[in-house]
């Protein structure tokens, strides 16, 4: 059977989508972190590490772990919950993508129109298929790698590592909630793992640890580079607009460089959007197997537009919802892994 996603594609898509999501959560939605975003990212990765280890353990322990895991009526509820979180992520992504586009060039176009265009783009990605989205992710990855090289070398003289100090920035009390929230975002790897395995089309096994490590490296690098470019501004405005400006037009980035950075930024956001929408439609497919994909895409499109039109895409909700997301999405899988581990231990231990 033709794989739904090859191992390489799955790695590329989850790496880019989640790495980007977590990075912009820190850079744009976390102004209170000051320049301690990189530590926040590390803490978030530690928070989600048991999940990656569990998925790899299940892959090694069982033939089809996701299919086994998804037996029973409650999995429909779990799938719907995962789908809702994925939809929420897509809605937030649309909010940011349209905001970035308006900021850069389309200030005269109304936000609802931008939301619709972004939503349709994500839906188009889903309709073409997961491998197409993954293909776009692989292209974006190369584009991003080139952009990073240009950006780093051309701004080399502007980086100041001393701006990373004091090392804990606003203090652990302030860092912890966003770190848990970013952990919640990184649980976005669960739907991908589930639907690829559930559909019996998974190719490569046991690489969630590696992907998490790669995402952590990516997130920490982006946070460090960003933090070394400008000093922490505890007295500055804590708005998204200001943070976006800090990220894209920070007075240090030459305009020629922005030409390189901006396509990379939009490519990453579009991959992130398509990935989340793809996860949502696939999760709904598991919960409601008799529905046609086109209907699921339509429902998801309506839902993400509703989210992006609502205030749910704003910062206080993002942090709160992702704080809830982390235990809600992780605990069932962690418990399942513990049960399987216990069973295996029982099976191998002498009677």
């Amino acid at each position: 059977m033709k794989p739904l996603l090859s191992g390489r594609s799955a790695a590329a898509i989850v790496f880019l989508a989640l790495g980007t999501r977590a990075s912009y959560a820190i850079a744009i939605d976390g102004p209170q972190l000051l320049n301690a975003g990189w530590i926040t990212f590390l803490m978030a990765a530690i928070g989600v590490a048991p999940l990656a280890f569990s998925m790899d353990f299940l892959e090694n322990a069982m033939q089809k772990p996701a299919a086994e895991f998804m037996k029973g009526a409650w999995v429909r509820v779990y799938s719907v919950v995962l789908a809702l979180f994925a939809l929420y992520e897509t809605g937030c992504g649309i909010f940011l993508l349209s905001g970035s586009a308006s900021y850069l060039a389309y200030e005269t176009i109304s936000a609802p129109v931008m939301f619709i265009v972004c939503g349709l783009t994500a839906a188009a990605g889903c309709m073409i298929g997961s491998e197409a989205v993954a293909g776009a992710a692989r292209i974006a990855l190369r584009l991003f790698a080139i952009a990073v090289v240009f950006v780093v070398f051309s701004q080399m003289s502007s980086y100041n590592w001393r701006w990373l100090t004091p090392v804990f920035g606003p203090g652990l009390k302030v860092i912890l909630p966003p770190a848990l929230s970013v952990s919640g975002m990184l649980t976005g790897m669960i739907p991908l793992w589930l639907f690829t395995d559930y559909n019996n089309r998974y190719v490569k096994r046991g690489y969630m640890k590696k992907i998490l490590l790669a995402i952590t490296g990516y997130g920490v690098m982006v946070s460090l580079l960003f933090a070394m470019l400008l000093p922490a501004m505890p007295k500055g405005p804590m708005t998204r607009w200001f943070q976006l400006e800090r990220l894209l037009a920070n007075g240090r980035t030459p305009q020629a460089l922005q030409v390189i950075m901006i396509p990379a930024w939009f490519s990453l956001l579009l991959v992130s959007l398509s990935f989340n929408m793809l996860c949502a439609t696939e999760m709904l497919g598991i919960a409601f197997p008799s529905t046609k994909p086109i209907w699921r895409i339509g429902i998801c499109l309506a839902a993400i537009l509703a989210i992006s039109f609502s205030p749910l895409g704003t910062r206080p909700y993002i942090e709160l919802i992702n704080l809830i997301r982390w235990p809600v999405c992780s605990i069932p899988l962690l418990i399942y892994a513990l049960i399987i581990a216990a069973k295996k231990r029982k099976a191998v231990s002498p009677a």
Partner: protein
């Protein structure tokens, strides 16, 4: 097939979604290259922009385009128009300006932003800088300049050449002055970031149009440049605009102004400039930093110990000055600079960044009150000079 048709349908839908907005041609935009902001005696804000007029000089219809208190027109020597507007605040004046000039005002190509000294010294300054940074699409890399006298007059008197790229001659001129060490280069965004940060205080370039009465009030010591401050330079030329010296900013407003001589040392100590021309008892030498000037700081609960070591290579242009005299003169000027900064309560030497390493959180660092402790400290300066006798 259905999928393909649906996909094809999305393309025309996306095309019509933005509506029937007009295309935006370059000649329909007013790309400002310089922006000035003057705080007037009555508390009003006068802002002006210098805009290149494509395909010739500004049309007579541009005159009066500034709305209330506004005016427009072109300079005969260059194809630029000046538009201005007055309002109770910067956003109000900008709004008025945008509404009353014939084209869409674009601030994405700004090269310099000039503030008059009254504004720069006022409590409003930090707020105005922040408002500018937050202004949609304003170019944050534009250099921030303080003008002794009218900022509007200053931008009216600059006649940059229109090159292949839009007036890079302003940026090029600013870099030229900076490399001499007599001015600094601080972007609008950098100024705002330093104002809002926990680290060292920013400095901005000082400029003036011709002879300036405001320059008379600045404490300076004549040296090779005569009176080394913009507005008092003993020179003549077709361009009356002068750049020299830098202004110390504390708490979002200018506290003191340093002349070109002290500015040179500021740039050398911060390793922003590596080499400058220097006069010692009428003898010209080129001074280069052999290694980055090294500040050592030791933090104590009740104060800090600061020491500075400067290693310089002196290359005499014709004859060599007395090494001892040169060393003492340089040491004296560096101590003079540090004293001026300490007296003003300003720490512009990037020492806060050095000190912050010793703290775990921003709050701890802020509670230490590093700037106050620096200003109360004695700084030990040693100067090592290697004379190039080849």
């Amino acid at each position: 097939m259905k999928k393909l048709l649906l996909l094809l349908l999305i393309v025309p839908v996306c095309l019509v979604l933005p509506g029937c907005s007009q295309t935006r041609q370059p000649e329909h935009q007013a790309f400002a290259i310089s922006l000035s902001a003057d705080l007037l005696d009555d508390g009003q804000m006068l802002i002006a922009v210098q805009v290149p007029t494509f395909g010739g000089e500004a049309s007579p219809s541009d005159k009066g385009g500034g709305g209330e208190g506004g005016e427009g027109g072109s300079s005969p020597q260059s194809n630029y128009a000046i538009y201005s507007a007055t309002g109770a605040s910067f956003p109000e004046a900008l709004d008025l300006l945008q509404s009353t000039i014939p084209n869409t005002l674009k601030l994405t190509q700004l090269k310099s932003i000039v503030f008059n000294d009254k504004l720069a010294r006022s409590e409003q300054f930090g707020r105005v800088v922040e408002q500018m940074v937050m202004t949609y699409q304003i170019f944050g890399a534009a250099s921030a300049i303080m003008c002794l006298g009218s900022a509007r007059e200053f931008i009216e008197n600059q006649h940059p050449v229109i090159g292949v790229r839009l007036s890079t001659s302003i940026a090029s001129a600013l870099e030229h002055y900076f490399l001499g060490g007599y001015t600094t280069l601080t972007s609008l965004y950098g100024l705002n970031a330093s104002n809002k940060s926990i680290y060292s205080d920013p400095v901005i370039t000082v400029a003036a149009v011709g002879e300036s009465d405001e320059a008379e009030q600045i404490k300076i010591e004549p040296n090779l440049m005569g009176n080394a401050i913009a507005g008092k330079l003993p020179r003549e030329g077709s361009n009356p605009n002068q750049y020299m010296g830098c202004a110390l900013v504390l708490g979002g407003r200018v506290i003191d102004i340093l002349d070109g001589r002290l500015c040179q040392w500021m740039e050398m100590l911060n390793a922003d400039v590596k080499s400058v021309n220097y006069m010692c008892d009428g003898i010209s030498v080129q001074l280069s930093v052999l290694s980055r000037p090294k500040f050592d700081i030791r933090l104590k609960p009740d104060g800090i110990d600061v020491s500075l070591n400067v290693k310089l290579l002196a290359v005499p242009l014709i004859e060599a000055p007395d090494e001892h005299v040169l060393r003492e003169k340089i040491k004296g000027e560096i101590l003079d600079l540090i004293d001026r900064c300490q007296a003003a309560g300003v720490e512009p030497f990037n020492l806060a960044e050095l000190a912050a390493i010793n703290f775990l959180t921003v709050q701890d660092f802020q509670n230490y009150h590093f700037r106050d402790k620096f200003c109360a400290s004695d700084v030990a300066v040693t100067v090592d000079i290697v004379m190039d006798k080849s």
